[in-house]
Structure formats: C-alpha cells, structure tokens
Amino acid sequence: MGKDLPRTEIPPGTLYMLILRSLARLGPMHGYGIAQHIQQLSEDVLQVEEGSLYPALQRMLIKGWVTAEWAQSENNRRARYYRLTALGKKQLSLELSEFDRVTRAITNVIQPA
C-alpha cells in the first residue's frame, strides 16, 4: 500500500484543525477535496489517510462543527459536502491559537541560544 511514497504522519490532534481550516478557506467541500487540499498546500508532505479522514469527519459532525449534505460534484457525481458551522469557526480559532502557543513554545525551546 504505497510503501514507496515518503509519508509524514499528521501530528496527532491537528487533523481536526487542518480540516476546519480547509473548509474555512474553500467553503463547502467533500472529503476527497479536503484531502487533496491539505496535500497540495503542504506540498505533498502531509498525506491525509482515508482511514483517519472519514472517522474524523463523523466525529466533527457529532460535535456540530460541520454539517453535511449531499450535492452534485464538479464532475457530476453525487458527493457529501461538509460545511463549517459557527461552532466550527469558533473551534478553529480556538485550535489555531492553541497550536500557535504550542509552536511558539517549541520554537523557543529548540532555537539556538
């Protein structure tokens, strides 16, 4: 299963943030689109596993961060589109600031004196 591709695991806990951010940027989007978007923007460093993506989307539906509806895709296939809710937006800014805080902390620790 694609052992030749160098893949980087998405750091735990950040998948939700990446999906939320993608939806915020693209508007309503289907799962495949979200995965593609993350992969492209990360210049193929971050590969979203389907095995994590779809369970994560279900979890986010339960949390009420996104809603889903079936719609016609760009090439006329039926696809499930996920849309960010107000709650999702709030969650995104929460996760972003948290991520920012942690990254800054890590940078402070590892930067050369």
Binding site: G2, P55, N75
Partner: protein
C-alpha cells in the same frame, strides 16, 4: 448539550443502515475521484481503479470505525457478535445444550442457596430503618427475665426504646370450637419501636403496659385476618375469645410482617401485661425466670460500640444487685433469629453450604471452559482465516467472549427459572411441626442480581482461556493444517482444568457422603427414649378454662381412655417431651450446705408409667407410682448426668436436692439413662423428672406406645379426646418422630443440599472426563489408525489414549481428597459430627471416582477401538 448528544445518537441508531449506505457511497466517490486523478496522470482505466480501491484499504473497517465515532460502536458490535454467537450455537446444538444445562444447574444451585442465605441472614425485618434495631443477648443466650428487662429499659442511655416479647401459645374459640393459635406477648412499645403502620385499626401503646391483666386487646396478623376472619373490614373493635376470655381486636398488622423472628409466623399479638392470664402463672415479677426476649431501637447516632459499653455497665450493676444474674453479659446482635444464639449457627450453616455451592459452580465453569477450549481448537482454522484477512485480535477475542457470556447468560436464565420453582416450593412448605415454622425464601432483586453476576462472571471466566488462546494464535501455522499432536506432551489449559474439576467434584462428593453419614449417625444417636412406635397428642387444659383440680381429673381420664384403645400397650402423659420445642430448665441445689452453686437442669412433670411408655430405661430404682401424690413425700427421678453432677459419687437413690434456692427437698427414687433434651449436638445435660401428680401442668403431651401404626393411633387418640371435650384445642398429633422434626431439620436440609451438590458434581465430572477423552480420540484418529495398522493391540491403544487422562483424573482426585480433609472445619459447621477423617467415606469417594472415570471413558474407548486404519488414513 449532553442530552442532545444522546438524542442524536439514539436517532442515529435508527438510521444505522442508512449510515452504512451513505458511507459506502462517500467512499466510492472518493475512490472514483482518486481513479480520475490517476488516469489523468497516465494510468489505464482498470489499473487506476484497482490502485484507488487499494489505496482506500479495508472499506468495511473504515465504515465501522467511522460509525464507532458515534459512540454506539461497542453496542452494535455486541449486537453483531451476539447474532454471530447464536448462529454458531445453533450450528452445534449439542454443545450449546450441554453447556447451558450444566451452567443452569450450577447457577441454579447457587441461586437457591443464596436466596436462603439472603432470606435468613442478609434480609432485614420488614420494619422501618431496620439498621438501628438490635436484639439484646444475655450471656450468649436470648432469654431475659422481665424484671431485668425493666431495669435495662429504664437505666440505659442508648436505646430510643427497648421492648420485650415472647412466643405464646393460645387458643381461639369460635362457634366451631377451640383452635390452636400462635402469637406473641409483647410490651406496649413493640409496634412503636419497630416503626410499622397497621393495615387496619391501631396498635398497642405503652398505655397497655400499666396494669396486669387489664388490657385484653389483640392485634391480628394480616394472614390470620384474611384466612380466619375473611378480611372483615370491621374487625377493629370486635371481640374475639382467646383462652376462653374476651379480647378486643385493635387492628391488623401490615402484610408481610410476621413478627420479630424470621422463622415463626405469628397469628396474633397480645400485650405482655396479659401474660398471667394467657400463661396461667405469672413470671413478670420473677427475676430468676428468663422467659422474655429483648430488643430495641438505638437512638440516632449511637454506635453499636457505645451501646455495648452502656449495656456492659448495666449488666455489671444487675449482676451485683441480684445473685441470679451472676456473670451477666449484655451484647447487641442482629434481630430475627433468637439473637446471636440462633444467628451464628444459621450463618455458619448457610455460609458453609454457600461455599460448597460456589464449588459446584466452579466445577461447572471448569467443565464449560474445557468444552470451549476444545471448540476453539477445532475452530482454529476458521479463526486463523479471520485473523489473516484482517480481523483484529481484539475483535476475535470479543467475539469469543460474547459467545461464552451468552452461553452463561442462557444457563443463568435457565438456572434462575429452576431456582424460582424450587424456592417457591420451599416457601410454601410448612415444616410438619406443631409450630408455625415457615421459610420465606422467595427471591428478591438481590437474588436475581446475584444470579446475573454469577452468570456474567462465569461467562467471562470460561471464555477468557479460549479467547486468550485465539489472541495469541499464529494464523500461518494454524492454516497449515491440524497441528500434529506433538506426542501429546504439550500442556494445555485443558490439562489443568480437568484435575481442577475432578478435585472440586471430590470435595463435593466427600461433603455429601459425610452429610449422609452424619445423618445416619444422628438417627442412631441414643436419644434417651424410643420414638418408634410412640404416638403423641398435645393439648392445654388451661386454655380451655379448666381449673387445676378439674384439669388434673381430665388429664387422668384422657390417659385412661387412650390406654384402653385397641393395640395400645401403655399410655402416659407429661408436661413436655425431650427434644420438642417446649423445654424448661430450673436451678437445683444439692442438699449438702457446703456446695451452694446452682446447677441448671431440664425438668419434666411426668405421670406414672411415663418411662415405660417413652422407652427411657430406669437404671436403678423405681418408676413413679400412682401413690406419688401431693400428700406423699416429694420424689424425683434424675438422669445419670444429674446424679453425677448434683449428687456426686456414690449411690444417688435416697439422696435429696432442692428445687430453687430455699425450695422444697426432693428425694431421688430412681436414676434414668441420659438422653438428648434440646439438640442432638448437645453435651450430656442434667435432667430431672417430677411426678405430675405432686405438681401440675396444664400443658400436656399424651404419649401412647403401640405396635399399630403411629398415625392411626394418633387419629384415634384425637377422636377419643375430642369425645371427652370437643372444645379442647389440640396442638399436635402424630408420631413422636414428627414432634422431633425440628431437631432433625438442619440435618435433613444438609443431606438434601449436599446430596444434590454431590450428584451435580458427579454429573459434571462424567461430562468433563468424557469430553476430554472424546476430544483426545477425535484428534488422534490418524495416529491411532497408523498404530493399529502397524499392529498395536487394543490394550496398547487404550493405554496410549487414556494414560494421560487417567493420570489427570487421579491427580485431581488425590488433590480433592486432600482438600476435603483440610476443609473438615467448614463441614463441621454444616453437618453434625462431620468428619472427613472417616475411612469409610474416603474409600467410598475413591471407589466413586474410579467408577465415574470408567463410566465416562467407555464411550470414547469404544470409539477408539473401532477406528478402522484404512478409513482413518483416507480421511485427510
């Protein structure tokens, strides 16, 4: 938030099917998009499709994991596993049946025993806040004298209220004659202290405590009100006749309240102040007559330790003030079983039986576990396939556990149903006694919770072994084919389970044999009289309103009438017979002034001819004669223990002793053999017989000895006495053996319970041995075929197959016998004179186990010998 999420999830449950379809479509879309991308990168159509599908991986698992996000995953997984488990069980009904039935028997036995334990020891009385109500033990016994009760009540600082009660025998008169009636004499604060509300009317109050014989009131039990008074809604204020005197009914006790003793179901409650009228002689002011039982409700916040400390001080005061109280100890105990005197043995008995019941369940568990292990091994291939196509080890384990848990729950439900039937029978059963003894052992929520917990634990315990094995299984080697038995040297869980099961079985069989031996021995215990051929009838002339003078005449006339019945060899009467429920003791003093220590002795008033009729041997001296009457010198007949303890060495006849301090002197005219007076287990006790003609008792047991059937004679006695006075309430007729039933009750219960356990254990070990032997044969068909083909003789084949099983069984049996020896103490609490160090029992157990082993091995051995080498080798 939380609620809405639950709501969403419930909604989701209904849409589970739609969810799966949508997920499937979403993933198909994903794959299609992926394939499009690959195609535009230059792959061929087919190639792109496969690559995309491949990239997606295990779609079912993905769907399941997505669904798990909704949080009902385990539940749905469970439902799914359950469906699968039932499919598998349907496919092997023999296994399902054996497993469920053996567990049903194990769990059923446990449920019954637990229910009895629950009813007798755990359940509290149906009163308000029962945790604060305690019985006051007097030096380890239940009885207290009434003046002592009054002092304890008035001096203590720990009881909110302290009440006294006593079981009383009464007679109820109506237009159809006199009926025996059982009740309680209680102090006025009894109902108040218990905090219960009448179903009708009102209860006594302390106002009923004031003047002796001035409160002719009665409270009826619910059952009595329904059965005897037809549930008359106007019963309050009505008059009933008790012992020939009018009593006003005040009210009816609530349904389910039978009094403050668990076994004894009372018909009526009467104020304690009526005691002199009810019982004929008053002991309410006699400090040395210990006839009342005392219990009370602690003040809120008072601990048992505080109360005990307070009672200790009062006991010391009372012992100091009144010599009769010497050595008095007052301690708290749970109420319901005559205080600690009844509770401790009951707890030891039921606890011991419970322990053995748990062993039965463990044996059933071991049985099921080895069945399951064999089954898992047979399904090794199937499991290996499932493992290799991606089912997680955890998933398989869960699957196997679900199966064993369901088998256990099925068995548990079946066991519960069995137990329920049995318990209903026990609850309805009334001991064949003159006394209203009844056991309410109907199961309650505690019992069902226990059964459920037992079943669940059984399921997990049994399934664990095989599930763990599946978890560790190596699919590659399993798929290569049935593992060639490595000369049968590898130790599997089965090899441990069988000896464990056999050992448990041995312990149980030992226990049941010991119980049976104990019963036989106790039936052979010399009682000091011969109940065979003796018929009895009990009545109380006092209850029918006879004066002492008229009563005396009636008693003699009754004896004469009975003595003339055809077939009656001799007839006599006494105030009570040994080993019946009605026992009294008195203190006696030797005549010599040097020794003033009182000795307590059982006493009976008996008529001339009593010893001959009861079958008690007179060792020296003479029987009472008709001329031993009031005007003649006071005489007595004592037993051997009395003679030795009170009169010392030398010839007892002609010596004298006092009854009570400063009481009259009695001259010993005979020494009778020792006997049992209260229980079969007692150490020899002193007993003394006085001529009833020099004394008087209104309560009478009339005994007739005959070669004709006891029941027949008893019926004729009843008719004859009924002709003399139709208004006399008869307390009990039948054989003397029946009258002693209460004494043998624990023994019979033990033999029935332990016997049932023993039979269950034997059945379990037969199926266990059979299972392992049959399994061994089926796994080694090929090997046996080869061996037979190259000339193995039948004995060699059998040795090959069964040597190991035989060793396992032998090891288990030896361990079991050792355990049985070590557990003798537990058995001693259940069975009188129980000893496992009994060569007959050991031999019987050994023989039983050997025959069990052979019985179980016959089938598999037959099969092993019939194996045809040609067919066996063709099979693979």
């Amino acid at each position: 938030m939380f609620l809405s999420e639950i709501w969403r999830r419930i909604g989701f449950l209904r849409r589970a099917r739609q969810f799966d379809a949508e997920m499937e479509e979403e993933l198909r879309f994903h794959a299609a998009m992926k394939a499009d991308a690959l195609r535009s990168a230059g792959a061929s159509g087919q190639e792109a499709h496969y690559a995309a599908m491949c990239r997606l991986g295990n779609r079912t698992e993905l769907t399941e994991r997505s669904r798990d996000m909704w949080g009902w995953g385990w539940l749905e997984g469970f439902a799914h596993d359950t469906r699968y488990a039932f499919r598998m069980l349907r496919r092997s009904p023999a296994f399902a049946l054996i497993a469920a039935v053996s567990l049903a028997l194990g769990i059923g036995a446990n449920t019954v025993v637990f229910s009895v334990l629950n009813a007798l020891v755990l359940k509290s009385l149906p009163i308000s806040d029962p945790a604060r109500v305690f019985f006051v033990n007097n030096s380890g016994g239940p009885s207290q004298s009434f003046p002592n009760y009054r002092d304890i009540r008035d001096r203590n600082g720990v009881f909110e209220s302290l009440f006294a009660y006593r079981i009383a025998m009464l007679s109820l008169d109506d237009d159809r004659g006199a009926h025996r009636f059982w009740g309680y004499l209680v102090t006025g604060n009894y109902f108040e202290s218990l905090g219960i509300q009448p179903a009708l009317g009102r209860f006594f109050t302390p106002a009923e405590d004031v003047h002796p014989n001035a409160s002719p009131y009665a409270v009826l039990s619910y059952a009595c009100w329904r059965n005897r008074f037809g549930g008359d809604p106007e019963i309050a204020r009505k008059e009933i006749r008790l012992n020939g005197r009018p009593y006003t009914v005040l009210g009816v006790a609530p349904r389910g309240f039978h009094g403050t003793e668990v076994f004894y179901w009372s018909d009526v409650w009467v104020p304690m102040t009526m005691q002199p009228q009810i019982e004929g002689h008053s002991w309410l002011d006699v400090r040395g007559t210990f006839n009342a039982w005392v219990a009370g409700r602690l003040r809120p916040g008072v601990t048992v330790a505080q109360a005990d400390a307070n009672l200790k001080i009062i006991a010391a005061q009372l012992a100091h003030e009144h010599p009769v109280n010497e050595g008095m100890r007052l301690t708290l105990g749970a109420p319901g079983l005559m205080g600690s005197a009844g509770r401790e043995p009951t707890r030891a008995f039921t606890g011991g039986v419970m322990l053995l019941a748990v062993l039965v369940l463990l044996a059933a568990c071991a049985n099921l576990a080895s069945l399951l292990a064999a089954r898992t091994a047979d399904r090794g291939r199937d499991l290996a396939i499932r493992l290799s196509i991606g089912a997680g080890g955890g998933r398989i384990m869960r699957q196997l556990l679900t199966e064993s848990i369901w088998v256990a729950l099925l068995g548990g439900a079946l066991g519960c149903a069995l137990a329920d039937v049995l318990l209903r029978l026990i609850s309805q059963w009334r001991a064949p006694l003159e006394f209203p003894v009844q056991f309410d052992v109907t199961p309650d929520w505690r019992v069902f919770l226990f059964a459920f917990a037992a079943a669940l634990a059984t399921g997990v315990l049994c399934g664990m072994g095989s599930a763990r094995r599946a978890w560790r299984a190596d699919p590659a080697s399993e798929l290569k084919g049935p593992v060639a038995p490595r000369a049968g040297r590898r130790w599997a869980a089965r090899d441990v389970l069988l000896p464990v099961q056999i050992a448990l079985c041995c312990v149980l069989v030992t226990a049941s044999l010991v119980a049976a031996r104990g019963l036989i021995r106790s039936l052979q215990t010399p009682l000091g009289f011969r109940p065979e051929g003796a018929a009895v009838i009990g009545y109380d002339v006092g209850l029918a309103g006879y004066s002492e003078e008229k009563g005396r005449i009636f008693e003699q006339r009754a004896r004469d009438v009975v003595a003339q019945l055809p077939g009656v060899e001799s007839a006599a009467y006494s105030s009570s017979v040994p080993l019946s429920i009605d026992q009294s003791t008195t203190t006696v003093y030797a005549e010599s002034v040097t020794d003033f220590l009182p000795i307590s002795a059982h006493y009976y008033f008996v008529s001339p001819g009593y010893f001959q009729t009861a079958g008690t041997r007179i060792l020296a001296g003479r029987e009472f004669r008709p001329d031993d009457r009031t005007e003649a010198p006071l005489v007595a007949i004592v037993n051997q223990t009395f003679a030795r303890r009170v009169l010392g060495a030398g010839d007892a006849i002609g010596r004298r002793f006092r009854r009570g301090p400063g009481g009259p002197l009695f001259q010993v005219v005979a020494v009778a053999e020792d006997g049992k007076y209260e229980s079969l287990t007692e150490v020899p006790k002193a007993a003394v017989f006085f001529p009833i003609l020099q004394d008087y008792s209104s309560t009478i047991v009339l005994v007739a000895r005959s070669h004709r059937g006891e029941t027949e004679i008893a019926n004729e006695m009843r008719e004859a006495i009924g002709r003399l006075d139709p208004h006399l309430a008869i307390f009990g007729t039948g054989s003397l053996h029946q009258m002693l039933g209460f004494v043998y009750l624990p023994m019979h219960a033990a033999v029935i319970a332990l016997g049932a356990f023993g039979v269950l254990a034997l059945m379990l070990s037969i199926t266990g041995i059979y299972g392992l032997a049959a399994y061994t044969v089926s796994r080694r068909v090929r090997e046996i075929g080869i061996r037979v083909a190259i000339g193995a003789r039948p004995m060699q084949v059998l040795r090959l197959i069964f040597a190991r099983t035989a060793w396992l069984v032998a090891a288990g049996a030896i361990a079991g016998l050792a355990l049985g020896l070590a557990g003798a103490d537990v058995l001693a609490s259940i069975v009188y004179q129980a000893t496992t160090r009994d060569p007959a029992v050991m031999l019987a157990v050994a023989l039983l186990m050997i025959s069990v082993g052979f019985t179980a091995a016959i089938g598999p051995a037959h099969r092993a010998l019939r194996i045809d080498p040609v067919e066996a080798l063709r099979e693979e």
